[in-house]
């Protein structure tokens, strides 16, 4: 087995390679597309002159690798190009929206993670009780719900029936924190419900498989108190799988946020991405897509590294 830094390094390289591979696939995809992208975007009614001008603007007259390398170089230096739809600097478009999205995802995560881990552990430790069965039923239903269904139920209940929270969450950079939190209450709650369900099921499964292991039986046969078995014997070994579950779900959160932002018309990066896809505003799609993907890759990487660090066998090599 490799030493720790080597393993971490390998995964890091893999993450970067992934991102490059995907952006490359997009670039090649544009090239391989049957027909002409410029024509497709502008529609059949466009004159040949406008199409040609548009091709130049997109850089479609250049070979794809030149286009790709230029784009990559610019992206590295923070210059993401301009939007096709409204000619604005993409970095400018993305700036505050990225902040908003992170704010939303973070406020959901802060509540969801401890709640899910706690409930998941409880369900595992009180397995096959009424509590566990109720929790299992509820989470099974929740993961079957599309995010927008959860969102609309919350709107109906908390915004239409009882006007507790606004159904459209608009936030501005200069708002005080309290107002911001109030504004994101419903989208955050939606994310929390969905993520908690997933995370709990996975935590429960991880803990149950752990509690079945022979060394837990051994500890019980040594007459160790239940609380000590859980804290001293189960917890150190549970750390690695649970960390994995948490980070995987955070990665899921990053993606789930797209749909929720659209429901609540929240000025985030997800909303921008979806809008740009329907307008086929390629540079914006590419930039915001890669930011999402980068975050996702980074989180998965963190999960790997943390669970390696938390694994006693790897921490104390032979």
């Amino acid at each position: 087995m490799d030493s720790l830094p080597v393993m971490v390094g390998k995964r890091l390289v893999f993450g970067v390679v992934t991102l490059i591979a995907i952006s490359l696939m997009i670039a090649v995809g544009v090239e391989l597309l049957p027909g002409d992208l410029a024509q497709a975007i502008l529609g059949q009614s466009a004159t040949p002159e406008t199409v040609a001008a548009f091709r130049r603007e997109l850089g479609l007259d250049l070979p794809w690798y030149t286009r790709y390398i230029t784009w990559l170089g610019n992206f590295m230096t923070g210059d993401m190009g301009t939007s096709l739809a409204n000619k604005r600097e993409i970095s400018e478009l993305i700036g505050t929206r990225l902040g908003n999205t992170i704010f939303l995802a973070a406020s959901a995560a802060i509540v969801a993670v401890p709640l899910a881990v706690f409930l998941g552990m409880m369900a595992a430790l009180y397995r096959e009780t009424l509590f566990d069965k109720m929790i299992s039923m509820t989470t099974l239903s929740t993961i079957s719900f599309p995010e927008f269904f959860v969102a609309y139920i919350l709107i109906v209940l908390l915004s239409v029936q009882w006007s507790v929270f606004p159904s459209i969450s608009n936030i501005a950079p200069d708002m005080p924190l309290g107002r911001k939190l109030y504004a994101v209450a419903l989208p955050a709650l939606t994310l929390i419900l969905v993520v908690v369900a997933h995370m709990m099921r996975m935590t429960r499964a991880a803990i149950i498989s752990l509690m079945m292991s022979p060394y837990i039986e051994m500890a019980r046969l040594k007459g160790i108190k239940r609380s000590r078995i859980i804290i001293h014997h189960a917890f150190p070994n549970a750390l690695s799988p649970v960390i994995n579950v948490i980070v995987l779900n955070l990665a899921y959160l990053v993606v789930g946020v797209v749909v929720v932002e659209v429901v609540f018309v929240y000025p985030g990066l997800g909303q921008l991405l979806v809008d740009s896809v329907s307008k086929r505003d390629l540079p914006v799609v590419q930039a915001s897509g890669l930011i999402f993907a980068g975050t996702y890759v980074l989180l998965n990487l963190t999960a790997d590294v943390l669970s390696i660090l938390a694994n006693p066998r790897l921490r104390h090599p032979k």
């Binding site: 995809g29 599309p146 927008f148 269904f149 993606v255 749909v259």
Partner: protein, 302 residues
């Protein structure tokens, strides 16, 4: 064989039976949509967002729900059971056609993704070596990328159509199927009966079809249910974002999207297709859950 299946169904817990009933109803609706629905798929039959039978305040006088509903339906040949949508089309009709479109596309996509995933996964497990390495690294790259974002990026390049949707989602989903089928095939492949067949001189096709496939069926069947749910939810999400099936085709995800505005007026129209999506997914999940427990004793899977 059939008797065994029936017996197993009779002994199934209530949750699994509920799930099966949901699936059967949905399939029936899907198959017989043109017969069952009172109106053609895209016909406008009334005003925008007319109330369904649940309405309780459709007139200022606040008359009783059924009277209100009768009022709306007085001059019609057919009643609008669930009200009308944002263009005045019958919601019930749209819902039936939506079942037909959404479920069948999801099903085709899942089948395609399984065909790709299982054949690649089994090949990787039986051939090992560079085939396995190549396929697995490729899948690693795709899976390291969030599916929704990937799909959005591809759709922005190639545009949206039913064919594109099916192929893109199937390929993305096939990576998950590949992982699972490779893993279960590996578990079987190390068994000595496979080694016996190899040493007998059997060809790879025999190994995959007769030795490996029958012994990997239970987890793959369960996975089929889960993957179907995922594809189905994913398609709905894309449609909801306006990037899936395009109007005027009826589709549950787009129906939610189109009618979303109604919700702030206290009209629950968009909740109906959303609930339909949720109910079908729960149904499939319940059956899969039962199947998994049955197939693997008391295994706990998420």
């Amino acid at each position: 064989m059939l008797r065994d299946v029936l017996k197993a169904l009779l002994n199934a817990p209530w949750s699994a039976k509920l799930g099966l009933v949901i699936i059967v109803i949905n399939v029936t609706l899907m198959v017989f949509a043109p017969v069952l629905s009172p109106f053609p798929e895209t016909e406008v039959v009334g005003d925008v967002w007319e109330a369904g039978f649940w309405a309780n305040d459709c007139t200022p006088e606040g008359i009783a729900a059924y009277e209100c509903w009768d009022e709306i339906n007085r001059d019609r040949e057919h009643k609008v059971l669930l009200g009308t949508d944002h263009l005045g089309r019958d919601l019930f009709t749209r819902l039936l056609y939506g079942a037909r479109n959404t479920i069948s596309i999801a099903l085709v996509t899942t089948i395609l993704s399984f065909a790709i995933g299982i054949s690649c996964g089994f090949l990787a497990a039986t051939l090992r070596g560079w085939v396995d390495q190549g396929l697995s690294r490729f899948v690693d790259v795709i899976m390291a990328f969030p599916t929704l974002i990937f799909a959005l990026m591809i759709l922005s390049v190639v545009g949206t159509s039913v064919g594109v949707l099916i192929v893109v989602i199937a390929i993305l989903d096939a990576t998950r199927v590949y992982r699972l089928s490779r893993a279960v095939a590996m578990d079987v492949e190390v068994m000595e009966y496979v080694e016996v067949a190899r040493l007998r001189g059997e060809r790879i096709w025999w190994l995959m079809r007769r030795e490996i496939l029958p012994n990997t069926l239970p987890p793959l069947v369960a996975e089929f249910g889960l993957r179907f749910c995922f594809v189905f939810l994913f398609l709905s999400a894309l449609s909801f974002l306006g990037l899936g099936l395009q109007p005027p085709t009826a589709d549950w995800g787009s129906m939610v999207k189109e009618n979303a505005g109604a919700i702030t007026f206290g009209i629950y129209t968009p909740l109906v297709p959303a609930a339909a999506i949720a109910i079908l997914t729960i149904g499939v999940n319940l059956v899969v859950d039962w199947f998994l427990r049955k197939a693997a004793g008391l295994r706990d899977e998420y």
